[in-house]
């Protein structure tokens, strides 16, 4: 019995390890395929040259430029309301509106991204008259990542010890101070994770952008210009351009490296933040 329990632990660990491998194996496979096909295209010029022959030649500099602006618009538009809704939801007290709001955030999370694209085209491009533009695309993406931001922030705030809010209230702090100085710093690592996931989704989104930020491969002069994000570029090369696979793979590799960098930086900074928080206590 003793032995079987020991072995049970071992077997269980192995099963879980295999499960972990199941998730990571295909990733390595995908990355290997991308490297095999696309690595040859990547050179310093790839990052600085304009798109030529629909992406079969040249670089992706304007695409990177547009992507950066789109993500910036998206985060800028999504983070303030996202945090606002999350803090609204974690305040004490429950009412029908809150219940309904939670349900709608859940619903928002399940709306197909292509529906966001159609909505964005009708609302931002046509109704608000923003046209095919970086701004339209960024705002559409903001709607899409809003539920991710809200849910991770709520989870981060709820993971804080119960007594934090009550003890802060007992000190006679205003709600504003409690939120900005007590809850927000405590929940920051969780919020950062939410933003990272949101950024990753924004970067890898295609369907919502084709109809909103458009397709242009030139460097945008303003937020009201059309510009294609890197995922749209990958999509176009893979789906519409004969022999686009190499360019698509190379661009996908660049996207992966960018994501790696973002994850690394957010982790680095949130750890740094945590350290500061502890040492200042």
């Amino acid at each position: 019995m003793v032995r079987s329990k020991r072995n049970g632990d071992l077997y269980f660990g192995i099963i879980c390890g295999l499960a972990a491998l199941c998730g990571i194996g295909p990733l390595l496979w995908i990355v290997y395929d991308l490297v095999k096909l696309g690595a040859g295209r990547i050179s310093p010029g790839f990052f600085t040259d304009a798109v030529r022959e629909s992406g079969r030649a040249g670089g992706i500099a304007p695409v990177l430029h547009s992507t950066f602006l789109i993500v910036l618009c998206c985060l800028g538009a999504a983070i303030p309301p996202g945090l606002g809704v999350a803090f609204y939801l974690t305040e004490n007290g429950e009412n029908r509106f809150r219940k309904w709001l939670r349900a709608s955030v859940d619903l928002l999370a399940t709306i197909p991204s292509i529906v966001f694209g159609l909505f964005g085209m009708a609302f931002f491009c046509r109704f608000l008259g923003l046209g095919f533009s970086i701004l339209s695309g960024g705002l559409t993406l903001a709607c899409m990542i809003l539920p991710v931001l809200i849910r991770t922030t709520v989870a981060a705030v709820e993971a804080l010890p119960d007594h934090l809010r009550s003890s802060a209230t007992a000190l006679g702090l205003t709600k504003t101070t409690i939120l900005l100085r007590v809850l927000l710093p405590g929940a920051t690592p969780g919020i950062v994770i939410g933003i990272t996931i949101g950024t990753a989704r924004a970067l890898s989104e295609t369907a919502a952008l084709i109809f909103t930020s458009g397709y242009a491969t030139r460097t945008p002069d303003s937020l009201l210009d059309s510009g294609r994000s890197i995922s749209v570029h990958i999509y176009d090369l893979a789906m519409n351009i004969p022999n686009g696979a190499q360019g698509a793979s190379a661009s996908a590799l660049v996207l992966l490296i960018a994501l790696l960098l973002i994850n690394f930086l957010t982790n680095f900074f949130s750890e740094l933040w945590l350290k500061n928080l502890h040492s200042s206590k």
Partner: protein, 285 residues
């Protein structure tokens, strides 16, 4: 006085954010309804449920049956969940309770990366690896199974990462208590840690499933896109999102309105599903 004013401003800002978010959901539903209106108000919406096939382009016999596509959306999502939930949770258990710290960090990085691969890439990988593999045994290869596998891979990181954070948030004293009762590690994990973290895990799964049912670009490559009721996992299917992606850019007036109506039905269906969960008290987060 000014301190209280700051509170009032704060409460105004929070309320405004909440209203904005609520309005967004209503706005999207409203927008879909307006675009779908020609179909709904002409009474042709009944064709959705009475027509057997989906062949909007046929001149002789246009049909707009949506049932098989809704079924396909549900089946693909379910299959992806069956594949991804156990694997994701077990992977997270490995990460939290078994993996040495250095390995665990790598696992996190990889999963975060997996979460960021564009769906087109998943789609093409599925089309060039999974589909030919299935094709060898059950042609054509494009199938419910292929779509389920590709989707499972796509939602795996969401499930694994949220499960991981739910498991790490468990108070160490609880786990020490379980250990002090002489529970073996699998028992500590399965009977104490998982039930304790179930809310977080369920939230992660819900998030993953939400993404699965709405996923388009990867599924459209590997599901075969035949609107039919599948008899096995090897049959090709066509979910609602695929139809929208395949036909929206090419559809004209009436056909287009049917596509919007299909999107609306999908959204309402998930809303119904959510409502049931809320009624059962399962979605309190």
């Amino acid at each position: 006085m000014s301190r209280l004013r700051s509170d009032r401003v704060l409460s105004f800002v929070l309320n405004a954010a909440a209203l904005l978010c609520g309005a967004l959901v209503l706005g999207i539903v409203l927008f879909l309804s307006i675009e779908a209106a020609p179909t709904i108000f002409s009474g042709k919406i009944s064709a959705f449920f009475t027509d057997e096939k989906w062949q909007p382009g046929s001149e002789r016999d246009p049909q707009f049956g949506i049932f098989s596509m809704l079924l396909a959306s549900v089946l693909i999502t379910l299959l992806a969940a069956i594949l991804a939930v156990p694997v994701g949770i077990c992977g997270a258990i490995f990460r939290v309770f078994y993996a040495p710290e250095s390995l665990a960090k790598w696992q996190d990085r990889f999963l975060e990366l997996l979460a960021g691969i564009p769906s087109v890439i998943f789609g093409f990988w599925g089309l060039s690896v999974i589909v030919p593999f299935i094709n060898r045994y059950h042609p054509p290869g494009q199938s419910l199974l292929a779509a389920g596998i590709v989707l499972a891979l796509m939602i795996l990181p969401t499930i694994a990462l949220t499960t991981k954070s739910a498991l790490t948030a468990i108070s160490p004293s609880l786990m020490a208590g379980a250990a002090a009762l002489g529970l073996s590690r699998p028992a500590q994990i399965l009977q104490v840690a998982i039930p304790t973290a179930r809310k977080g895990i369920a939230a992660g799964c819900a998030l993953g499933l939400g993404r699965a049912i709405g996923e388009t670009m990867a599924v459209v490559m590997v599901c075969g896109n035949i609107a039919q009721i599948p008899h096995s996992v090897f049959d090709p299917v066509r979910p609602v999102t695929s139809t929208i992606a395949l036909e929206m850019g090419y559809a004209t007036a009436e056909h287009k309105s049917y596509l919007y109506a299909a999107g609306l039905v999908l959204v309402l269906m998930t809303a119904l599903f959510l409502l049931v969960r809320i009624r059962k008290g399962a979605s309190q987060w």
